[in-house]
């Protein structure tokens, strides 16, 4: 008897592949929404918009200060009880919502730091030749902030892909949920979970490779 049931693991691959799109879709949706929200929050913080700035700080503090799993349970089980129109919220929606808010809180701070980090004298130079604030942002500040923020944002994306596995606690059958079901049927827990671990690992490595290529391209202008 071999230590690992390799045939079982190979057979598991096509089954898990069917659930991969859902995992990736939740991560992609969460990332897109989180990016939009984070940019908004970052701009509020950079411009210190009165009123909104305080609310933003509170938002960021809460979503960074509590576990993602607690936030997911809050949205999935808790919210429908207090908001009557949400008689029920499905697990996928609750997951995307949780990922969006949780990661937006982190991403807002790194985007803010990247914007603030752009050399202030370049801002003055842009204004001195008569650029408007909008032109200054679009043409000078944001391109440079992007380069600084991209590595961190890619890391959050990688974290987010792994975090989608929490969706199975809300009854969503994604990569992790599917593995859990297969394992429960076969009792081959080790084989099942090592297989799904490799799935995540490969996805993350592929992304890390894209990240390195992207960074090389973004850094071209700054090489001495």
């Amino acid at each position: 008897m071999s230590i690992l049931d390799l045939d079982y693991m190979v057979g598991l691959v096509p089954i898990l592949l069917r659930y991969l799109p859902l995992t990736l879709a939740m991560a992609a949706a969460g990332m897109a929404l989180a990016l939009v929200l984070a940019c908004g929050l970052a701009v509020i913080r950079v411009l210190r918009i009165p009123g909104l700035n305080g609310v933003t700080l509170l938002f960021i503090s809460f979503f960074r200060g509590t576990p993602l799993l607690v936030q997911l349970f809050l949205f999935y089980y808790g919210l429908p009880q207090v908001l009557a129109f949400l008689t029920r919220i499905d697990g996928i929606t609750a997951t995307i919502m949780g990922l969006t808010l949780h990661f937006a809180a982190y991403m807002a701070e790194s985007i803010r730091a990247a914007i603030v980090g752009v050399d202030r004298s370049q801002t003055e130079a842009a204004l001195s030749i008569g650029m408007t604030n909008g032109q200054l942002m679009r043409r000078i500040v944001l391109p440079q902030a992007t380069r600084v923020a991209v590595p961190t944002l890619m890391n959050y994306f990688i974290d987010m892909i792994k975090a989608t596995s929490l969706a199975f606690t809300l009854g969503v059958t994604e990569l992790m949920g599917a593995t859990q079901k297969e394992a429960a049927g076969s009792f081959l827990y080790f084989e099942a979970f090592i297989t799904v671990a490799v799935f995540y690992w490969v996805i993350v490595e592929l992304l890390a490779w894209c990240q390195r290529r992207l960074e090389t391209r973004l850094n071209e202008a700054y090489r001495r």
Binding site: D119, S121, Q122, A126, I129, G130, Q135, Q144, R223, R224
Partner: protein, 252 residues
């Protein structure tokens, strides 16, 4: 023709510019000298509204505004009539030398890209950096960066170029090439207002030297007169100190 009347700027309780009056003729080269902390940078920054003055009147070509009432449009207009050369170059790090020079033409003057790039190439030629068109600032020496900074200001075709200590951040080896470029502009009668500690440049190039202290213009005049026969004791005192540090240009 540029005219500044009774310009006042305060930072909190400190009055940094205390009623500056200055008129600059077309083609005139004015050098501003004075101890540090005297408001020289603030004067230049007020002229293109990087600082908002607290009082005063500003005439820049056909623009004529009371600075306290300047609208957004007035401020943009003032900035288009003045170009700034910064002590630390302040080049756009995400743009090549060519793009740094063409940027204002494309974005502010709305020139087509090709036309702006053609003009930028002409300017690169004039500043002796034609071969660095596609180089990013990080790969240029300090002297080259400052020459691109001056090229960016030249592209603006402003009424006046404001230089705020353009050679003070440079390693000594690069100072000469930047001064040479400024002399070339002066020879072309580009109107310039230059804050500098380079007394040799002031003596050789300026039509008029302005000595500032404590937010006021203490005295001004042609360099020969101001350097050889300063009237105010503060001017005398200041010149004695700087000329002791730069003996090469002491009056002969």
């Amino acid at each position: 023709m540029i005219q500044v009347a009774n310009l006042v700027k305060r930072f909190g309780d400190a009055t940094v510019l205390d009623g500056i009056d200055l008129a600059i003729d077309q083609g005139e080269i004015i050098v501003v000298i004075g101890p540090s902390g005297t408001g020289k940078s603030t004067l230049l920054r007020c002229l293109n509204f990087l600082e908002r003055p607290d009082a005063g009147h500003l005439t820049l070509g056909d623009l004529d505004v009371d600075v306290t009432r300047a609208t957004r449009a007035d401020i943009l207009a003032a900035r288009r009539r003045t170009a700034f050369v910064f002590q630390n170059y302040a080049l756009f790090a995400n743009k090549t030398a060519l793009e740094n020079i063409a940027e204002g033409l494309i974005v502010v003057n709305r020139w087509p890209r090709a036309k702006a790039h053609a003009r930028a190439r002409e300017i690169l030629q004039r500043i002796g950096l034609a071969d660095k068109a596609d180089a990013y600032p990080a790969s240029l020496s300090g002297g080259q960066q400052q020459r691109v900074g001056i090229g960016r200001a030249m592209a603006a075709q402003a009424e006046v170029i404001l230089f705020d200590e353009p050679t003070s951040s440079l390693d000594p080896e690069w100072v000469e090439e930047v001064l040479a470029l400024m002399k070339q502009l002066a020879a072309e009668r580009q109107t310039m207002l230059v804050v500098t500690h380079e007394m040799g440049f002031a003596r050789d190039v300026a039509d008029r030297v302005v000595f500032m202290e404590g937010g006021r213009i203490v005295e001004q005049g042609p360099p020969s007169r101001l350097f050889n026969a300063p009237r105010d004791p503060r001017t005398r005192d200041f010149l004695r100190k700087v000329l002791a540090a730069q003996p090469a240009i002491q009056s002969s």
